[in-house]
């Protein structure tokens, strides 16, 4: 790791002032915010980035909000372990509870923050290899597009084919979360769903709208509407600790033998949490049967565009969708 300056501001404005003023890639490397450090320090150790300054947010006031029931307010410095252990969150926002618990290992969850989890960089092995000049690092090419793309996107790809690595992002988009960020011009709020950007929409070297001199302040999740339950099914190639190969966040209101309403977000299949809107519409008012689950899964994956080595994500995600629906219907998930 290259030597760097560690700045330790105590206020948000002070922290923002220590971040880059300009917008170019060179300025971004001047200074970066540091929260739990679980991703950024790895990037620095692997020489993917070499910031001159890290702005430590640990001492900054206003990032540690925590209100757990039933309207959820989570400061960006909230540790994932705290979310995973909170019985109120497990009760009212079950998908988030499961997602937080599914991240990495106990040691990492104890240190990692919610803000860092949402803003973590992609896991694509081309991106993570220092010697590969991929498009995410300012290069000209997405090596995954025609290369070893087993773990890459089947939705929303191009010109980069990364998948978003955050479990909490998928669950929070499902739960209709709102995010607050702050920059030199003050605070702004937006639906979390709009926070994440496709490589074809925003900057290809970023995964969200956050600018180099902005800080994610907190996430708010409304109390669940009556009758709704949720779950998060994460499929890992290695159960002990791993990123998702595919994930399904599902919430539904089931009335008797009918799925009254449902909401579905897919993870690890696209550069952003991928809302399965057509499947949601299909499920509304349908009989709660295996045939319905299967059809919903078909609809959710109908538009998938697999690359050479990730076609398995289509049947895998279909399987997870059926399992998630079965679980919310009172059956087993695994």
């Amino acid at each position: 790791m290259k030597s760097f300056e560690l700045a330790r501001p105590t206020s948000l404005d002070e922290a923002i002032d220590l971040l880059p003023k300009g917008r170019g890639p060179a300025e971004i490397d001047d200074a970066r915010p540091l929260a739990g450090g679980q991703d950024i320090l790895t990037e620095m150790k692997d020489y993917l980035i070499t910031p001159k300054r890290l702005v430590d947010l640990a001492g900054v006031a206003g990032l540690d909000a925590y209100q757990s029931a039933p309207d959820l307010v989570l400061g960006s410095l909230t540790r994932l372990a705290r979310i995973a252990a909170d019985p109120q969150i497990a009760l009212h926002h079950r998908a988030l509870s499961i997602a937080a618990e599914s991240v990495a290992s106990v040691q990492i969850r104890n240190q990692a923050t919610l803000g860092g989890n949402l803003c973590q960089r992609p896991r694509c092995w081309y991106y993570r290899n220092e010697s590969v000049p991929c498009i995410k690092k300012g290069g000209a090419e997405c090596f995954a597009e025609s290369g070893l793309n087993k773990y890459n996107a089947i939705f929303g790809g191009g010109p980069s084919y990364i998948v978003h690595p955050s479990d909490c992002a998928t669950a929070l988009v499902l739960l209709d979360a709102t995010v607050t960020k702050r920059g030199p011009r003050g605070e702004s709020r937006m639906p979390l769903e709009q926070f994440f950007t496709l490589p074809s929409e925003g900057s290809v070297v970023r995964e969200n709208v956050l600018k180099a001199n902005e800080i994610l302040v907190q996430v708010e999740v409304p109390a669940p509407k009556p009758g709704w339950t949720s779950t998060y099914l994460k499929f890992k190639e290695r159960e002990s600790f791993d990123f998702a190969m595919s994930a399904v966040a599902l919430s539904a209101r089931i009335e008797g033998d009918t799925i009254a309403e449902a909401r579905m977000v897919l993870g690890a299949v696209a550069p952003i949490p991928w809302r399965a809107g057509e499947a949601e519409s299909f499920l509304a008012g349908k009989p709660n049967t295996h045939a319905t689950w299967k059809e919903a899964a078909e609809i959710a994956l109908a538009q998938a565009e697999p690359l050479e080595h990730n076609g398995y994500k289509v049947p895998l995600t279909k399987g997870l969708i059926q399992k998630a629906l079965r679980e919310l219907s009172g059956g087993e998930s695994k």
């Binding site: 790791m1 896991r123 290695r238 791993d242 399987g319 997870l320």
Partner: protein
């Protein structure tokens, strides 16, 4: 235990053992669990420098190297080129730097300028065999018989083809085994503790402590006898640590140059790219069976993927009796580092394919999976071992005994089997010393390293048994070339090479002590008896001395004897069978191993607890080979794309099922055999077979990841 036989040392009847053949906890366990054990990579000495290798970032190149820019960084003490000219694979070290801190060493390594011209390369089997493919090296074609150009194959090809024609059922398949890594937690390297003068101590992570002084003396510019090697604890070897490697040589060269200690260990990427892998293979097999279950014919065409090396020698039909077989054994070279020995070199790869073929043949004729194995294995050891693992895994109650599951529904369960063989005998060359002090202390010394298998504990147990003491009463001293000779730990030879020396030394020491005590106890030496911490005359067990009081009668210098290897105390020839029970999630392709059972013979088991640990560890590595691990080479970039412990997936705690390791107690040989290798062989085949048995998907490519399972299931329906 009482040891009254005064003749040639023998292990004695198992029923008489008080320490040996009893579960004995690893003596280094507490310090390892508490993090207090000092591995070579943890060792720091005053004035020490940190070394870093400079590695070439392309698969094949002509290059020049300029180390001067590194020297401009304050804190970088030395930078040296290691080679000139050309490289054959990505990650090959071309220079080295040593600095005051690890971070400065990294800065220095990055400042070294390597000017290279990339050359055409091949890093995958497919590209290596393509017409017009670039040659890996000028020494041999990319695809060449392992036995040389005159090697036209083993066996009678015509007879094999006739036997195939005469078979009642024939299968044909291609098996593809990915390259697995040793993935030692302690990477390759050493600390060269040299401060000028004419002596040095090397703290190495090695399987051959006694090989290090000879290797290090040259680069250090010292006499071999003035170089000592210490290996207090080992963080994994598995066959990858038989030399001091380029990191070790560079550390010695730099230490010699600046007269300061240099510690240099691979980083994780270097460890993956350059320091150890189990060869992959591609095996095209055609085999035929008679209706009665006899395997009549097998034609196999094997490519060993050993990188720039040739890969190991094991061939088909592995250990099965096949009436007529013909085998072509080729090396298929790529621009990747050479494979190294890894727990039974070559065996797990051929076992996986052979066990798969046996199952395919069995299902073809409707035979029971256990019975067809017994039909084609002659050694009765396998018959009883297969019956035992079948019983332990629940085969007789299993629903898919002659036909696999159909792959419908949400979940399926299956069972599979495999068998293995290995030598496991030892050899001469080692020596041991056992010493009794006047204060009652006992020291047992042999320079051999403990790879983590439990050798240290054996070194204490053997004299403890001899003197009627407990293992914890004996201080074991190991891992040091100033102690009596050890052996290199490879091929499962360690226990069978060192245990006889320790037994001989213990035996001689006891006889000498008995001679001394005869006058004290007023009896003949042959009647001096050692038991339960006491020493007494056989005829007067009530009037003896405590061990401590007996030792107090010794002269000031105590009593010591050395022992040498005695062939009769060891033997060779291990057999084992394993069974796996797996669950296949038909919706996601996930495979979960629910249980594995190993029944293994290995003569007299000195410490059943560490023996079971060895067998369990072998089953876990088999689970990795079967389901998770595999080097992924980027064909166009020429690099390993998963050279880290995130993307290269070792099994973790959630992947480890119920493991049952059973000593085959019908093996009554009164001699020791090593058990490092044999249990590492049959697991992958057993797991692949269990997956097929569960759901009907025959997957012939390792590792069997969910994408492959889903693809195979889709083909079934």
């Amino acid at each position: 235990m009482t040891s009254q036989d005064n003749g040639t040392p023998s292990w004695g009847a198992r029923a008489d053992h008080r320490v040996l053949n009893k579960d004995t906890r690893r003596l280094s366990g507490p310090e390892k669990v508490k993090g207090e054990a000092i591995y070579s990579i943890d060792r720091h000495v005053p004035d020490m420098l940190y070394g870093k290798l400079v590695c070439i970032p392309v698969a094949k190149a002509e290059f020049t190297v300029d180390v001067d820019p590194a020297m401009e960084i304050e804190g970088v003490v030395i930078a040296i080129p290691l080679r000139e000219g050309s490289t054959l694979y990505n990650g090959q070290a071309v220079a080295a730097v040593a600095a005051e801190t690890p971070e400065l060493a990294e800065d220095g390594a990055r400042a070294v300028v390597v000017n290279y011209t990339p050359q055409g390369f091949v890093v995958t089997a497919e590209s290596a065999k393509a017409p017009g493919a670039p040659q890996v090296s000028s020494r041999s074609p990319n695809h060449a018989p392992r036995g040389g150009s005159n090697d036209k194959g083993r066996g009678d090809m015509d007879a094999t083809m006739e036997a195939l024609d005469a078979s009642d059922f024939v299968v044909e398949a291609e098996f593809d085994v990915a390259i697995q890594h040793h993935a030692c937690l302690e990477t390759h390297g050493l600390l060269a503790d040299f401060k000028g003068g004419d002596e040095a101590t090397i703290y190495a992570s090695t399987q051959v402590a006694f090989g290090i002084p000879g290797s290090a003396a040259g680069p250090l510019g010292l006499d071999r006898q003035n170089v000592r090697c210490v290996v207090e604890h080992m963080g994994g070897g598995f066959g990858a640590k038989f030399s001091m490697d380029v990191a070790g040589r560079a550390a010695c060269l730099m230490a010699a140059e600046v007269g300061r200690p240099v510690s240099m260990f691979n980083d994780r990427r270097q460890e993956f790219e350059t320091s150890g892998n189990r060869s992959g293979s591609i095996q095209r097999i055609k085999a035929g069976v008679a209706k009665d279950g006899e395997i009549l014919a097998m034609h196999s065409d094997m490519d060993k993927l050993g990188g720039v090396g040739r890969g190991p020698g094991a061939v088909q039909p592995y250990i099965y009796n096949v009436l007529e077989s013909f085998t072509l054994d080729y090396a298929l070279h790529t621009n990747t580092d050479s494979s190294r020995a890894m727990r039974a070199p070559g065996h797990p790869q051929v076992s996986f394919a052979m066990e798969s073929v046996v199952d395919m043949l069995a299902y073809g004729i409707g035979a029971d999976l256990v019975e067809i194995r017994k039909r084609n294995l002659s050694d009765p050891a396998y018959h009883r071992q297969l019956d035992r693992v079948a019983q332990e895994i629940g085969w007789n109650e299993h629903q898919h005994r002659t036909a696999p599951g159909k792959g419908d529904g949400w979940i399926a369960e299956g069972i599979g089997f495999g068998v293995s063989t290995w030598g496991g005998g030892g050899g001469p060359g080692a020596a041991a010393e056992v010493r009794i002090e006047r204060d009652g202390g006992v020291t047992s010394s042999i320079g051999v390293q403990d790879l983590g298998t439990g050798v240290r504990t054996l070194v204490a147990m053997i004299p403890a048994e001899e003197f009627g003491l407990q293992a914890s009463d004996v201080l074991p001293r190991i891992g040091d070339t100033q102690l009596p000779n050890g052996v290199g730990s490879g091929g499962s030879v360690t226990t069978a090479s060192v245990a006889p020396c320790l037994k001989d030394a213990s035996h001689k020491t006891r006889l000498a002590f008995a001679e001394h005590l005869a006058s004290v106890l007023k009896c003949e030496a042959k009647d001096v008896t050692f038991a339960d911490g006491k020493v007494f005359a056989k005829s007067a067990p009530d009037r003896g001395l405590t061990w401590k009081d007996a030792c107090a009668t010794l002269p000031a210098e105590g009593l010591a004897r050395t022992g040498k290897w005695i062939g009769d105390l060891q033997t060779s020839g291990a057999h084992g069978a394993q069974a796996a029970r797996v669950q296949v999630d038909l919706m996601t392709g996930a495979v979960k191993v629910l249980k594995m059972v190993a029944v293994q013979d290995s003569g007299l088991v000195l410490n059943p607890l560490t023996w079971r640990s060895q067998v369990n560890g072998a089953m876990i590595q088999s689970i990795g080979l079967a389901l998770y691990e595999g080097r992924v080479m980027e064909p166009d970039l020429g690099i390993q794309i998963n050279a880290n412990l995130g993307d290269y997936k070792l099994p973790g705690c959630m992947e480890i099922p119920e493991l049952v390791a059973i000593v085959d107690d019908e093996d009554t040989r009164q001699a020791v055999i090593g058990v490092g290798e044999p249990p590492a062989i049959p697991g992958a085949g057993a797991i692949a077979n269990a997956i097929h048995n569960a759901c009907g998907a025959r997957i012939t490519s390792l590792p069997i990841t969910p994408d492959k399972v889903l693809e195979a299931l889709a083909k079934l329906s």
